[in-house]
């Protein structure tokens, strides 16, 4: 990617126009797919012969867990672009991802607990995936608090982005070490329970939900990110012309 392209498409007015055009499409399609996926998952998909109806929580747990990680990856990516090219747009996008990511991580944890209670008989196990999800939440909270506690906008952007990049470097190491710790501590407990292999008619609502969540996420980022861009460009000419 050449520098010129980044300046052209990453310039605040262009991003604003693009995001505002994209947002209604993402939002309506995302909501539509989420509704379809919900109906499919709750009512159409067959009952699991082992777990009964409770497995249907998976249609809400897996998309949020998936999104919590990819949102962090997106935040780290945007932060890297922001640090390297000093791009206002990238900083705005990274900042608007953070609260959404923290909420969706909390959602993944809570739905995971609601899944664990009937399935495993306990809401929390010291399982590798649960623990790294919790640490992911801490990383998000660190980003948000750091950004909120530095008054000056530009410095806050760059400092918080540095933390996000460090988190991206560290996330695989954290995950690996937690997995390693977990295998040594409880080799043969309930942590070995995996999601059972899913067959076609159970799978399609899940995929629809994941795509719907991602589109919804894009819509939120378009809204929040463009609001952040406007905030940072308050004094410039193009903002006053809108």
């Amino acid at each position: 990617m050449s520098l010129k392209a980044i300046y052209k498409y990453g310039s605040p007015p262009n991003f604003y126009r693009f995001a505002m055009k994209l947002e209604p499409w993402c939002f309506s399609l995302g909501v539509f797919l989420i509704v379809i996926g919900t109906i499919g998952g709750l009512f159409i998909a067959p009952k699991d012969y082992q777990m009964g109806d409770a497995y249907r929580i998976i249609y809400f747990h897996v998309p949020s867990a998936y999104l919590s990680m990819s949102a962090y990856a997106a935040m780290g990516f945007a932060s890297t672009i922001g640090i390297v090219w000093r791009s206002t747009v990238a900083f705005s996008v990274a900042k608007s991802i953070a609260p959404f990511g923290a909420l969706i991580t909390a959602l993944a944890l809570i739905t995971g607990m609601l899944w664990g209670k009937p399935m495993w008989g306990t809401a929390w196990v010291w399982d590798a995936r649960l623990t790294s999800e919790f640490i992911l939440l801490l990383l998000y909270l660190g980003y948000i608090t750091l950004h909120a506690s530095i008054k000056e906008q530009k410095r806050a952007d760059r400092a918080a982005s540095l933390v996000a990049i460090l988190g991206i470097i560290n996330l695989p190491i954290i995950h690996y070490s937690v997995v390693w710790w977990n295998t040594l501590h409880q080799a043969s407990t309930i942590s070995k329970i995996d999601a059972p292999s899913i067959v076609g008619e159970m799978l399609w609502p899940l995929l629809v939900m994941i795509i719907g969540y991602s589109l919804f996420f894009s819509a939120v980022i378009c809204r929040g990110g463009s609001a952040e861009v406007l905030m940072r460009e308050k004094r410039s000419k193009w903002v006053k012309e809108i």
Binding site: I135, L138, L139, L141, G142, T145, L146, S149, I150, K151, E152, R155, R158, A159, L162, V163, L166, G167, I169, N170, I173, I174, Y176, S177, V178, W180, W181, L184
Partner: protein, 221 residues
């Protein structure tokens, strides 16, 4: 080389002047390690089981407490700005400063950790392994603390925020460090965790000063 040495000498003088900082770390390390047998159970097997986590935890905790003063005084009296203007590479100067800080806050902990280990009924080679583990892990931790205290320089009460940033990043080191100690007491193979700790130490020594320098530059302007 000269500038680096002068900076080290200067840091030594500062550390001697502010000897309470180093002492606070040592006292905290000692007290945490002493409290656990008193409030839980002084059974020998139990203590041998928990000595690894407690060593790592108290080292982490005392570094957490002492790092608040890592850059703040120098930032306020303008030393950091002087370093930034120096002809020598800023990253190298930061590495020197971090190393000096490590010598005066973490090295004493490593030295007295042998004493604490013997309170926990650890004997023989395992004591040396504990000291080696602490050596490797404190060198990593000090770089992470340096980064965290540099990034939170402009904030008035950074305590809780520092903890929030530092805990997820330090977690792998705590896990592998306590695993190395536990394995050495049980007589198992310790090369795996130690290799990991060494790798993390190398990574943090190369990457840490560089990231800390950019964090300081962000906090300065």
């Amino acid at each position: 080389m000269d500038t680096y040495f002068q900076l080290f000498i200067r840091e030594t003088k500062v550390a001697i002047k502010r000897w309470t900082d180093a002492l606070t770390g040592i006292i905290l390390f000692f007290l945490i390690a002493l409290l656990f047998p008193l409030i839980s159970d002084s059974d020998k097997d139990f203590l041998l089981k928990i000595v690894g986590p407690i060593m790592m935890f108290s080292a982490f905790f005392s570094s957490l407490l002492s790092m608040q003063n890592m850059y703040k005084p120098d930032f306020q009296n303008g030393t950091i700005e002087q370093l930034l203007l120096s002809k020598r590479s800023f990253v190298g100067l930061i590495l020197t400063k971090t190393f000096a800080y490590w010598v005066f806050t973490s090295l004493p902990l490593i030295l007295i950790s042998g004493l604490i280990a013997s309170i926990y009924f650890v004997t023989g080679k395992a004591i040396l392994i504990i000291q080696l583990t602490l050596l490797l892990s404190t060198l990593t931790m000090i770089n992470i603390s340096a980064f965290t205290s540099a990034i939170t320089l402009g904030i008035r009460y950074p305590g809780a925020l520092m903890t929030l940033i530092i805990t997820p990043i330090t977690l792998p080191i705590l896990i592998f460090g306590s695993k190395a100690i536990e394995n050495s007491i049980l007589g198992l193979d310790i090369s795996g965790p130690l290799y990991f700790l060494t790798g993390m130490m190398m990574l943090s020594l190369f990457l840490g000063p560089w990231i800390t320098a950019s964090a300081l530059k962000i906090s300065m302007d």
